[in-house]
Amino acid sequence: MSEEFKVEIVNPEKSFFSSENVTEVIVPAFEGEMGILKDHISIISFLKPGIIKIFSKNVEEKFYVDDGIVEFKDNNLSVLTSSIFNLKDFDKSVIDKNLSDAEKSLENPDLDDQKKFLIEQKIESLRSISTS
């Protein structure tokens, strides 16, 4: 019995990534990182900025997302997101630009708590990428 399921990442422009045989996916859900294995219960959640890790038998793929929705149903995982980058071609200068943009937007005084939290998360994960 295989432990594999299907994952698809869609952004508004195209189907960004799709794979038939992944064994585990870790998504940065709003309330904390969430690992999904085969036969997980159907779930809908939304994402905070962070890294999606996709494990299949011998490869591991990492993507950075800003926001998005994740839906898991009948061993189909779909991630809808408007901003996604493959970590492999995530350029250092792009990271830095995103980082400084995020820091700037944090200075805006009329942010509500949730937005503030999201931006802080963004900064944190961007930093961890740029140092690694």
Binding site: N11, P12, E13, A29, E31, I44, S45, I69, S78
Partner: protein, 293 residues
């Protein structure tokens, strides 16, 4: 009767027009393929988004407190219309069809005594609407600079709409665009995006959402999702629009090329006839001159 020289000039000018329309047709054909591809690639996103929202909104427990984007403000006084058109002309009835549809909607609203606000996206829409509705146009947006349609642009429009909604500047929002059916036919569409209209033929049964686990909970996800859906819907409309624009332009330019060809034929016949007539006339003059000697 135009002189031979005039006819010659006209023939050359029609021929060069024909060259232009032919080139435009070929450019449109090439762009159409790309636009169509993009529209198809973009579909899964908006479809899934729609599905999730349908699943969620079925399960919303507390209708009173749920997002205004879903249930509306409770009023129906001010309507916002986002009219999406092309930035360029020469594409047949493409822009006119959207404007026509939008105008008939505007007139309906006027009759019902509602307030009207308009946002135009694309130059042509603004040009055509500013004569009659210049007071109602509150914003004009154009993406002439960006070569391809990207989500970033759509998001900008979406944010403007949301911002105005939060300030309670309007109650209901419609978008107008052309849906791409095939190269020959594009159907002007009116779509309500605020409050979200549930499609009647929703084929996801209600009990479906019982199987879902939500994290954090339905309402929160929905509140997070609905603003995104606005941008998504606008993006979808923009994609459909760009495919329609190219398709429409292709057909229009094809017709223009054919008409120019017909015109060239007709002018050439006329040119040859009058040339022959001039020769005959000269001959008659020479012959009759020789006879009189």
């Amino acid at each position: 009767m135009p002189s031979l020289d005039d006819l010659k000039k006209r023939i050359t000018s029609v021929k060069s027009t024909q060259k232009i329309t032919k080139a435009m047709k070929m450019v449109a054909t090439a762009k159409l393929r790309k636009a169509q591809e993009n529209a198809e690639k973009g579909r899964p996103y908006s479809e899934r988004m729609n599905n999730i929202i349908l699943n969620l909104s079925g399960g919303v427990s507390d209708k009173e407190n749920s997002s205004k984007l879903l249930v509306g403000t409770g009023k129906d006084d001010t309507h916002l219309c986002v009219v999406l058109t092309a930035d360029r002309g020469l594409c047949g009835g493409f822009n006119t069809n959207i404007i026509k549809k939008a105008k008939s909607h505007f007139e309906d609203l006027k009759k019902q005594g509602k307030n009207l606000k308009i946002i135009t996206v694309g130059m042509k829409g603004y040009d055509q609407l500013k004569r009659n509705y210049s007071n109602q146009i509150i914003e004009k947006i154009t993406f002439k600079e960006s070569k391809n349609i990207n989500y970033f642009d759509a998001d900008k429009v979406g944010k403007i709409v949301l911002e105005k909604f939060e300030k309670e500047e309007f109650d209901v929002c419609h978008i107008f665009y052309n849906q791409f059916k095939n190269v020959m036919t594009q159907i002007p569409q009116k779509q309500q995006i605020i409050p979200l209209q549930k499609e009647e033929n929703a084929d996801t049964p209600e009990k479906d959402n019982l199987n879902y686990e939500f994290e954090p909970d339905e309402d929160e996800i929905l509140n997070n999702l609905l603003p995104k859906n606005i941008s998504t819907q606008i993006f979808k409309a923009m994609l459909e629009n760009s495919a329609s624009e190219q398709g429409s332009r292709m057909t229009a330019m094809d017709n223009a090329t054919r008409n120019a060809g017909e015109l060239v034929d007709k002018l050439s016949i006329e040119y040859n006839r009058s040339r022959q007539a001039a020769i005959t006339k000269e001959l008659i003059e020479i012959i009759s001159g020789a006879e009189s000697l």
